[in-house]
Amino acid sequence: MHGRPRKPAKPEDESASAARAEALRALQSQFFSNHHNKVYTDEALQLSGRLIEQNPEFYTAWNYRKLVVQQNLDRCSESDPDALKSIIDQELRLVEIALRQNFKSYGAWHHRKWVLSKGHSVLDREMKLLKQFQLLDPRNFHAWNYRRFVAALLNRSDEEELEYTREMVENNFSNYSAWHNRSVLLSNLMKKKAEGFFPKAKVLNNEYEHVHDAIFTDPDDQSGWFYYTWLLDQTVKTDAPLLVSSWPAHGSSVILSRNRHSSDCSSSPFDSFRSDSGTVPLLIYFNQAVEGVNSSSITIESSFCTKDLIWKPVLQNNSQLSQVWVTHIKFPNAKSHSSEVYQLKVSVGPTQGIISASGFDYSHPTQFAFKVCVRPIETEPAEKQGEDIILWTDENFHAFQTQYQELHEVVPVDQQSVNDVHEPTASNWRAETIAKEIALFRELVSEINCKIGKLTLARLLTAHDVILSPCTSKMFHSDEVLQLYIDLIKLDPSHSQYYKDEHSLVFLQKVTSNRESLLRHCFSHKNLASSSIGNHICLRLNNLSLSRMGSVEKLLWVRMLDLSHNELHSIEGLEAMQLLSRLNLSNNKLGSFTALGPLKQLKLLQVLDISYNEIGAHSIDTTRYQCSTPLSHTEEASWNSEEIGTGGAGVKGYWEAFLIFKSMSLTQLVTLGNAISGENFKSFVVMFVPTLEWLDGDKLH
């Protein structure tokens, strides 16, 4: 069934197939006429049967039969079991004939399920039939699907079915379907904690041994690796969601000022925050997407009323599942001339409610606390006035280290004491298992040049680091992992993009894993001291060949970010950096405005540089097919067609740009050097981004 080359048709075959097509067409038109006229006679039924025998893929005929069968069944009284049986048997026979024609016929398999769901049939025969089909082709996934269906009807135990997958794998381990069914069954059994399938550690270790035989015997066969990936996932992932980080971080002090030109240099440059309205965002970041974050699942103790906060998922789509949640806390106005300090204590998950996508509760209630110092308003809010243009050139940046003494206070890395103890005993077996696997695959990779082996080793090493320190991700193995990905890029050029992405993620983990390495990327910008964002530090991750953004959970504090001169083709994840107000994405590989989607979530973003990307260079916007947030389905209906109508050709030509910029209040934008750039585009931007003060380096107004 597999690996058989197709032979070119001979002329006599072609004429035979033309004759068959002719016959089929005649049959088909008769059939359609019956169908349209609702002719449900026995004769008409037979005709549809003949049609199906010749072309089992003709699903209209199957549907027609369903109508007829249903009607016949309804007519048949329950008291006449023989009649019922003959109706059912006739259908089952037809399906068998059809499957003999083409055992991968979706319509036929579906029809059989439908018939069986009517009851009245003997299921034992189904197992025999399946046996025949799986003898013919043990990987036929239709048969496997059907087997699951029948097994459920027969109430066959998962254990029995698991044993069956073992037999199939022993006969030939190149069988994705068998391995896959095994993973499904084991998941069920482990979830139920069925006898012999608990603890998880024992079950998984047996499975590792099983799949090792396949992988080591023939590393070129993918089916074993496919199962291995599932096993690894089972080992690494924690069921219950965990809180990973927050802003403000635990133990930090935030200075809230409302002055536009506060030049209070004594305050920590990382945690000062300016807001005209006196609100401070509170961001929490989980290790997996959760739902149910609200003012009862998260409580805040403070001296003022923080009830009924609205928590919003930070997401591009409309799902209620998100890793990042944000709310805005409004602080009381400070009394004049003196600062007021507020203590806030946040409890995450004191009551049930936060639930992961796979249905696990947040089961480790955690608390964190921070201070907010509200500065008095020293001057009346000045009349809004223009800002200087922000230039991202190197001479405007100074290394950050030299200027401040209290460095140990500032970078909010690994401060998160909140999650110190999660399942310390359970993670032991995880770490041990992964360590054993690492040793095995190091040996394999040292012997043979095996791409998937290297990739697996890289994943294992990364997983090991994560398990040993789930929150801080101390990277013991990062250099080895990075080297593996570099090897892979050379070894397997057709998948180099994936390896580059992985390399970027690991590299960012490494950079953010400790204070020193992160500080090396922190700079202060010349005209930031007088700027309005209340934070003087720019994180520069430029010129690093990054193709993906990651480790965002460690960077929630960042206001100004330089990602220029990388290879970014996506900025997914950036939406979590809610405090971001200045962003340089120039000289990357962003291919469309859709790729900028995450920016719509950044309500504070004012300065954006997207120059020298590839926006407009690709006529087909592949982002929309790749990312999980297809724009067309999720766009809020916040814009009306009138706007587009009055915008004329501008909007029609640049509607993707329109959708992005519409929800932002940018004051400075650089779009030069993209395929889309030009006077038309510029005038479009000027019209639809009214807040803009600087465009492409020119002062507007």
Partner: protein, 515 residues
């Protein structure tokens, strides 16, 4: 059609293209091939059964047959032939002397009562020792092409084991599935063994591609230099661990002699030949049958019978129980034909003879050897020569009553005493394993699977291995020590005859024996 020979009725015609004496496997194949090619063939046998030295005999016929072809100790049955020189023709009739192939026959009946419960006719013992067919080997191909396959039934060899240095039987990991299931190899050993197999398969595929004139296959092939080197050196260069090397050499390539000491080794296997042997295995597995090796039901003798009958169907004149003498031209000494005991002279251009007979001969000893396998294959790599054993269950292959098993052992030896000792050791070791409840339990003739196996009967003999040829008569090969028939078929020169088998009666020369 085959006829029961009646002295009184002369055979007609009296002139043939070819006369074949002996219905051993090679003789039968030659007779069938030549007949198929449209030649007039006379096929004679002095025995009343088919197969000659390749026969499968019932227990009670076994000893008399062996004895009649045995050297000194049993001098009772000497061949009585008389030289007749009849004056009224120009020929000399040379009586055939029987070659004494067997010696040191040693029969022991351990449990006469148990044996007595069964009809000795229900046993079929292969004279040729442990043999099997591989699904992709030449013998199977020959059977297929000659059209006799539908008349034969086979039993797959279910298990193949190697006797390892700690005295246990170990399933031979000879395929992808077997490696996957193996419990004794480490993961890296599995990886290495499988990689070696892949290397060989790739080489074989590249070789096939080349025939299809697709270029670029050179890189996937094993270099000629490697192919000419000893197989064991090649395995060493592949950095295969000792354990894996043993498996490949002795259990898959079925090497006869210990290859580790190349200077002392009597027969060094070249990489080319080693790969060739692996290829048969590989191709046998490709047939998708659950087993690579098969055993003919009712014993190997059945093959000769079926092929002889095939010859008859194709017009060959067959006669059995016919004593014959060879006719030579009185003056020139040229071969002319044969004379039957009835006195009838039959003429032919060529004569092919069973090795049972000789006219004058120089024995040349050739290096075949020992074998074993079906349900069990054993091997003692620490000796010079490997011992092979085959166990056939009576219930499946109809070679003995149900619940019993026949086990064949063989080893190559120069010295009868040493050879017997080795075989005794092997027998004892297997029996001991069986008694100690090893999973490979069903070893010797046991009455019942649940009962510990007991040895009922055994027979040991030495078969001489020699080939000779003389001017006008070609002697067919005698059973060799290989597990398969490949060498035998090659030396029967069936290269030619096999082609004739394709049954279109095309005009091809009569088969010739190669050296």
């Amino acid at each position: 059609m085959s006829q029961l020979f009646d002295d009184r009725v002369p055979i007609t015609p009296s002139t043939f293209d070819l006369i074949v004496i002996g219905t051993g496997l090679p003789g039968s194949v030659i007779a069938a091939a030549a007949s198929t090619a449209g030649k007039a063939v006379l096929h004679l046998d002095t025995n009343q059964f088919y197969g000659g030295h390749f026969a499968s005999l019932p227990l009670d016929d076994l000893f008399p047959f062996l004895n009649s072809h045995a050297s000194p100790p049993s001098s009772s049955s000497t061949t009585t032939t008389t030289t007749t020189i009849t004056g009224h023709d120009d020929y000399t009739a040379l009586p055939l002397t029987r070659r004494l192939l067997y010696s040191d026959i040693e029969t022991v009946t351990y449990a006469p009562q148990a044996l007595a419960q069964h009809n000795p006719k229900r046993f079929y013992i292969d004279l040729s020792g442990p043999k099997v067919l591989f699904l992709a080997d030449k013998a199977t191909d020959l059977l297929w092409r000659s059209g006799v396959l539908p008349f034969l039934c086979f039993k797959g060899i279910e298990m193949k084991s190697i006797y390892d240095d700690i005295g246990e039987l170990w399933n031979v990991p000879d395929s992808r599935v077997a490696i996957f299931k193996d419990k004794r190899l480490s993961l890296m050993e599995k990886n290495k063994l499988m990689r070696f197999f892949k290397l060989v398969w790739q080489h074989l595929e590249a070789a096939t591609d080349e025939q299809g004139s697709e270029g670029n296959s050179e890189s996937r092939k094993i270099s000629d230099e490697d192919l000419e080197s000893p197989f064991v050196d090649f395995l060493n260069r592949m950095e295969l661990p000792h354990k894996i090397k043993s498996i490949i050499l002795y259990a898959i390539a079925m090497v006869d002699y210990d290859q580790d000491n190349l200077e002392a080794c009597k027969s060094i296997l070249k990489t080319r030949d080693g790969i060739e042997r692996l290829a048969v295995f590989y191709k046998s597995r490709l047939t998708n049958a659950p087993e690579a090796m098969i055993y003919p039901m009712y014993g190997h003798g059945n093959l000769s019978g079926v092929i002889s009958r095939r010859a008859a169907v194709k017009g060959c004149v067959c006669a059995q129980r016919v004593p014959v003498a060879v006719l030579m031209d009185k003056d020139s000494g040229q071969y002319k034909g044969v004379r039957l005991a009835s006195g009838q002279n039959l003429y032919s251009d060529q004569l092919v003879m069973d090795p049972t007979f000789k006219v004058p001969s120089l024995p040349i000893s050739s290096p075949p050897d020992v074998i074993a396998s079906p349900q069990v294959l054993t091997l003692y790599p620490e000796q010079d020569a490997s011992i092979r054993a085959i166990q056939i269950g009576g219930s499946s292959a109809e070679v003995c009553p149900k619940g019993m098993f026949v086990v064949y052992f063989s080893v190559l030896c120069d010295d009868a005493k040493q050879g017997k000792m080795l075989l005794h050791d092997a027998m004892n070791a297997l029996l001991k394993l069986a008694l100690s409840g090893n999973p490979y339990d069903r070893t010797l003739d046991s009455e019942d699977a649940e009962v510990k196996p007991t040895l009922l009967w055994s027979m040991l003999y030495v078969q001489e291995l020699s080939t000779d040829q003389q001017g006008y008569f070609l002697s067919t090969p005698m059973p060799d020590a290989n597990l398969d028939y490949n060498d035998l078929i090659d030396s029967t020169a069936v290269g030619h005859t096999v082609d004739n088998f394709d049954d279109d009666g095309s005009d091809v020369d009569a088969p010739k024996g190669t050296e």
